[in-house]
């Protein structure tokens, strides 16, 4: 705001004070929507915590049992136990398996779409990938229950078709489209001058991708993977149908497991409002919240660490 803008502001004053007011209002609205994300996250956290708090501060609550026991007997007639270790392990196992399957495919597809294919193939691939992202999770659940489950029994030694591998495959299929579209955006955001420079230096296409593009787009690609992880950790309906919903520590990828999300979905509806069981389920919600927060924070720190180098 110096000499060059002075005539312009004078002109604005000549217009009406209404337009100035309008501008301020718009500015305030934009600021508000910016802050709202933080407000919503805090409000959700507070709400969940308020529901869980009475049981956390009660005498019977044993945080060690809650975190490190596999005994989940919320409606037992003789001995009620709330241990979530098996559920946490289920969530971690299914997510990890899904990422092992989805990250290579997702990033590979992103690289192909952004660097290797022609414009017509790219457009049609992008449409199909976006269509894949639009399939509702309950439909994926049906696929898991009917198609994947039968194949699983037929072609593996699994005694039952609904297990961790099934859940991992379905979650991978669900997160690949996210990883592809965001990863592709990240790769395309790398300025063309980088590509031109690399080609001018005599780099092959592979060298271009691995030495130039991947390091340059690292943050965006990490964000893509993280959104995929978020989708996998938070997914409920499909994993409920695919994993077999069995409370046990998984010993192999063909074991049935239960995830934290599926457990909440299956039990919250019938837990009497205000009961310990109901509050413990909210507490597992906080647990999920903390897990995703930790994943995001770690990734953020990793990105900052590498950036400093």
């Amino acid at each position: 705001m110096d000499t060059t803008t002075a005539p312009r502001t004078a002109g604005m004053r000549k217009r009406s004070s209404w337009s100035l007011l309008g501008e301020q209002a718009v500015e305030a609205a934009i600021r508000l929507s910016g802050i709202s994300a933080i407000v919503f996250v805090l409000a959700i956290f507070l709400f969940i915590f308020r529901e869980a708090a009475p049981v956390v501060f009660s005498d019977q609550f044993n945080p060690l049992e809650f975190l490190f026991s596999v005994q989940w007997y919320p409606t037992s007639a003789v001995d009620i136990r709330y241990g979530t270790l098996a559920l946490t392990a289920g969530t971690a196992g299914v997510t990890l398996l899904a990422m092992v399957l989805a990250v290579p495919f997702g990033l590979g597809a992103a690289i192909f779409v952004s660097e290797f294919c022609g414009p017509r193939v790219r457009e049609s691939l992008k449409v199909v990938i976006e269509l894949l992202a639009a399939i509702p999770s309950v439909v994926w659940g049906f696929v898991a229950l009917t198609v994947v489950s039968r194949l699983m029994v037929e072609y593996t030694s699994a005694p039952v078709g609904v297990n961790m591998l099934n859940g991992g495959i379905i979650l991978a299929l669900m997160s690949v489209p996210i990883i592809v579209s965001i990863g592709e955006d990240a790769l395309r955001a790398v300025p063309d001058s980088y590509r031109e420079a690399a080609v001018a230096m005599g780099a092959t296409r592979w060298q271009l991708v691995f030495r130039v593009l991947l390091p340059a787009a690292k943050n965006g690609l990490l964000a893509a993977v993280l959104l995929g992880v978020g989708r996998a950790v938070g997914e409920t309906m499909a994993v409920l149908m695919a994993t077999g919903h069995a409370v046990q520590m998984p010993h192999g990828i063909l074991d049935s497991v239960r995830t934290l999300t599926a457990n909440i979905a299956a039990e919250l509806g019938e837990a009497p409002a205000g009961s310990d069981h109901y509050r413990i389920l909210f507490l597992t919600g906080i647990q999920l919240f903390v897990i995703t927060f930790a994943v995001n924070l770690t990734a953020d720190l990793v990105v900052r660490g590498t950036r400093r180098k």
């Binding site: 009475p54 596999v70 005994q71 989940w72 007997y73 919320p74 409606t75 037992s76 007639a77 003789v78 001995d79 009620i80 098996a86 229950l145 489950s149 039968r150 029994v153 030694s157 005694p159 039952v160 078709g161 609904v162 409920l240 077999g244 919903h245 069995a246 409370v247 046990q248 049935s256 239960r258 299956a266 039990e267 509806g269 019938e270 837990a271 009497p272 409002a273 205000g274 009961s275 310990d276």
Partner: protein, 304 residues
């Protein structure tokens, strides 16, 4: 579910229930208005038959619309406590704590109508050569301290089940079927962890039909040609019975229970007429067609 655990909760839920009752009183449930609606909610076991009743009742009394939803016996009774339904379906008795809550919140006693019987069938894959099973064996398979984990331990060799592992199929912990099985077969002890806890009666049969190693329990009304039903004996050496209408009535089949509809106090007007129709031969025939066992009084009028 321990009552000592439930009763203090009544205090905390009391406020919410009072608000619900107050709003209900102000909005009023107009039972006698044109195009009456009867709200009917509860047991997932009963949701199919309740739906069938509701549909047929449209022909009997065109002005009355019965709105059915499931969610579980506990959900239905909770809705009755809040006063948001006229009839709650339950595949178990109302617990003393719940009856207390109903009295406290509405000032009325729950009125119990036995509308039929349900026999829980033990399902296995059709390839399983096993014919009969005892309560001891079921306990060994399902109970927390049970030692039976392989089919060979009970003398069965299932073709197609390479691992020999008994895949236990169960229900989610809040389901009435789960509680009934625990009470009747496991003598209220806990289930062994690691069973596949599915969210519906039909899903149990579905999973068992595609899994050679599996065993599961579900209402006998959910039987399909692609599963096999086991005979059940109370003790080894005693005769084993298949779940049928006759064995349910004469109580020789050990895993059977009565199905209830609960109202707040004596039902009036359309709800009363509906319950009378449900217990009439017409209503009971529909129940039987859905795979359940009718109440004996209606059966007297049943054609042989």
């Amino acid at each position: 579910m321990s009552h000592a655990f439930r009763i203090p909760l009544a205090l905390t839920t009391g406020l919410a229930a009072m608000v619900a009752v107050a709003s209900l009183a102000s909005s009023g449930c107009r039972p006698r208005a044109e195009g009456v609606a009867i709200q009917n909610k509860g047991s997932d076991t009963m949701v199919n038959v309740a739906q069938a009743w509701a549909e047929s009742y449209q022909k009997v009394a065109p002005g009355v619309n019965v709105e059915v939803s499931g969610g579980g016996s506990g959900t239905g009774i909770a809705a009755l406590i809040r006063g948001t339904v006229h009839i709650a379906n339950a595949s178990r008795d109302v617990k003393p704590g719940e009856a207390d809550q109903i009295r406290r919140n509405t000032g009325l006693d729950p009125k119990d109508f036995t509308v039929g019987y349900d026999a829980l069938a033990m399902y296995v894959h059709p390839d399983n050569p096993l014919e009969a099973i005892t309560f001891d064996q079921l306990s060994g398979i399902y109970r927390e301290d049970g030692m039976l984990v392989r089919w060979s331990q009970i003398g069965s060799k299932v073709p197609g089940c390479k691992s020999d592992e008994i895949v236990r199929v169960s229900r989610q912990s809040s389901s009435g079927t789960y509680e009934f099985f625990r009470e009747r077969v496991l003598a209220n002890r806990d289930f062994k962890l690691g069973s596949r806890d599915l969210n519906g009666s039909k899903e149990v049969v579905e999973l068992v039909s595609t899994t050679p190693c599996a065993i599961g329990y579900s209402g006998m009304g959910y039987a399909t040609p692609s599963v096999k039903i086991l005979k059940v004996a109370r003790r080894a050496g005693e005769p084993a019975y298949p779940p049928t209408i006759e064995t349910t009535w004469n109580r020789t089949y050990p895993i059977a229970r009565s199905l209830h509809m609960y109202t707040l106090g004596m039902p009036q007007g359309p709800a009363k007429a509906y319950l009378e129709w449900v217990l009439s031969p017409d209503g009971q025939r529909i129940l039987e067609e859905s795979g359940y066992v009718p109440v004996p009084t209606a059966a007297v009028t049943r054609e042989p």
